[in-house]
Subunit: 331 residues, 2 copies
């Protein structure tokens, strides 16, 4: 059970018979301290089980050695992979990455941003829920600390951005698909997400640019459930033999699950392509062809943005394609 009150620096100072200044200097190594006193202080701290109160420290100092990350949802494996890579990237320079899930809601997202700003984080990484409606949160964040949008962005804010070129991803898909099937004769269907996030938006645009402005499109959200439903519609509408390009691996996995469940064969009858390159894509059978985002490099890029706090800047990475077994090998 929590003891009545945990030891403070004043307690340590009293027990060691020195001033709090000496305790602080000993423990943080900010200035040299007489070795004899050092010993007394560390001993006293040990005896009392003293732990620094970061709240007190944060109030006095400007830096907190903390970076906040607000994600729309932790259930989405792509976001949790980003969170994991970011923690790892920040672990090395001794910065704590704290993660907050917005649970898909704009209000909760705003709460997360307020919370991190109030905690005086050194920087804030944000995957905005909505391309337009998240603007107030991003702007508020950017006004207070160095803010980096990740994967998705709202335009016209003073925040940095790190992500992949979604159009380039779709171009890769087009090249891959065109190398194997005759795109002008075989049907291609896009199962995407409603364009209220920049990634959904840009992938849809890329699809229209590199395939055709009037490629058949089904729009839902970034979930496997939506993938299943879309696959059901594709079957119902009689799109036999279609190549199904999707906006995300989770959608693609839903599509694939439904097709296989209905006894359709992939890649013979249908072909399926994903986007993101999450781990589960390689586990599917047949394994999913997908556009892989360089998550680790993106995380490192964010770390360097945070460490050298220059002007806000943006960086687009090039995705690459992972050839799985849901699409035919190039001839």
């Amino acid at each position: 059970m929590p003891p009545s009150r945990s030891a403070t620096m004043a307690d340590v100072a009293r027990l060691a018979g020195v001033s709090v200044a000496t305790v602080s200097r000993t423990l943080s190594g900010t200035r040299s301290v007489d070795p004899a006193m050092q010993r007394k202080v560390t001993e006293a701290a040990e005896r009392l089980g003293y732990r620094v109160n970061l709240v007190g420290r944060a109030l006095r100092q400007t830096r907190t050695s903390t970076v906040g990350l607000v994600v729309p949802d932790l259930d989405n494996p792509y976001f949790s992979a980003l969170a994991q890579q970011l923690s790892r990237a920040f672990s090395d320079p001794g910065i704590d990455l704290l993660v907050f899930s917005a649970d898909g809601s704009l209000e909760t997202e705003a709460r997360g941003v307020r919370s991190f700003l109030g905690r005086q984080v050194d920087a804030l990484v944000l995957i905005p829920v909505h391309e337009q409606l998240s603007e107030p949160s991003v702007t508020a964040a950017a006004a207070a600390v160095h803010t980096i949008q990740l994967d998705r962005r709202v335009q016209g804010t003073a925040a940095s951005y790190v992500g992949v070129s979604n159009r380039a991803g779709m171009q890769l898909v087009r090249e891959h698909v065109a190398a194997a099937v005759d795109v002008s004769r075989q049907p291609v269907v896009y199962v995407g997400a409603t364009p209220d996030s920049s990634s959904a938006h840009e992938r849809l645009d890329g699809m229209r640019q590199y395939f055709s402005p009037d490629v058949p499109v089904l729009l839902g959200d970034f979930s496997a459930a939506w993938g299943r439903e879309a696959a059901a519609r594709i079957l119902a509408d009689g799109w036999t033999g279609a190549t199904i390009v999707t906006a995300a691996d989770v959608i693609a996995l839903g599509v694939l699950a439904h097709l296989l469940h209905e006894g359709r064969s992939v890649p013979d009858e249908f072909r399926v392509v994903g986007f993101d390159g999450i781990g589960a894509a390689a586990l599917a059978h047949p394994s999913l062809t997908t556009v892989r985002q360089p998550v680790e490099e993106m995380a490192r890029s964010i770390r360097s943005l945070v460490e050298s706090d220059d002007e806000p800047s943006s960086r687009w990475f090039k995705p690459d394609i992972v050839f799985g077994a849901t699409s035919p090998a190039a001839p």
Copy 2:
């Protein structure tokens, strides 16, 4: 770009022509304030873009309305599902759940615990990395705040625990398997994890208890890569027709992927059973039979533990079984 300094209560008080006490009372509603002054204050706060500094508040108050969660790894979908459900559970009573990933390392785990304790969280939820070696972190946490171990635990600490009965899970598996195949004649293999976490430990024990003390066992870690490798060994060792029980869905999915990749049929030639009930289990083809943990109820249970801070207590939930297509239907 961050402005020179953001507005404080003193700034608001000056602009509104009142004292900081009045500002505080107006903004937090702790005591009634004359409506005219309230207007002046909110107007001034608005004009200055005032945001409360939670660090200042936290220092003065005892509560921070914050709960910390330390997970071993965010890439594991079971842990990220727990994190997501917990955020949701705490969102309602206005408590911020902050997540820290230990990245599989004891040192990083210790850092996460220290960090949260230093930040004066109201409670700490912890999925310990190691059954024995995480003991110092759990003990340190329990000495300072209400600490709840989740899913895994170290014994003999003053911390609460919430999880499922792993043995009961294995009993369900045994009943299900025995209903379909003759367990005394058909081989059963367990693909588990080295017992350095209580869950790996208990599942292995349950396996031995409900199947046989000398059930063949392969031990690795909680990853799909290990599942693949184990499946390769099973094939190499000629365990044809085996029922493969695993310690986790991620392992089971790896096993399944490898078997299918090698052209083996499931559930005809091999049967596969998972544990946890992650979303991806239902997406596999054939869909994975698995022991489902009641994640949402566990999250709610933790919330109620935190809200009513009684004595530390433990709660074991009963898992249930989800019948997929990787095991034969009961006759």
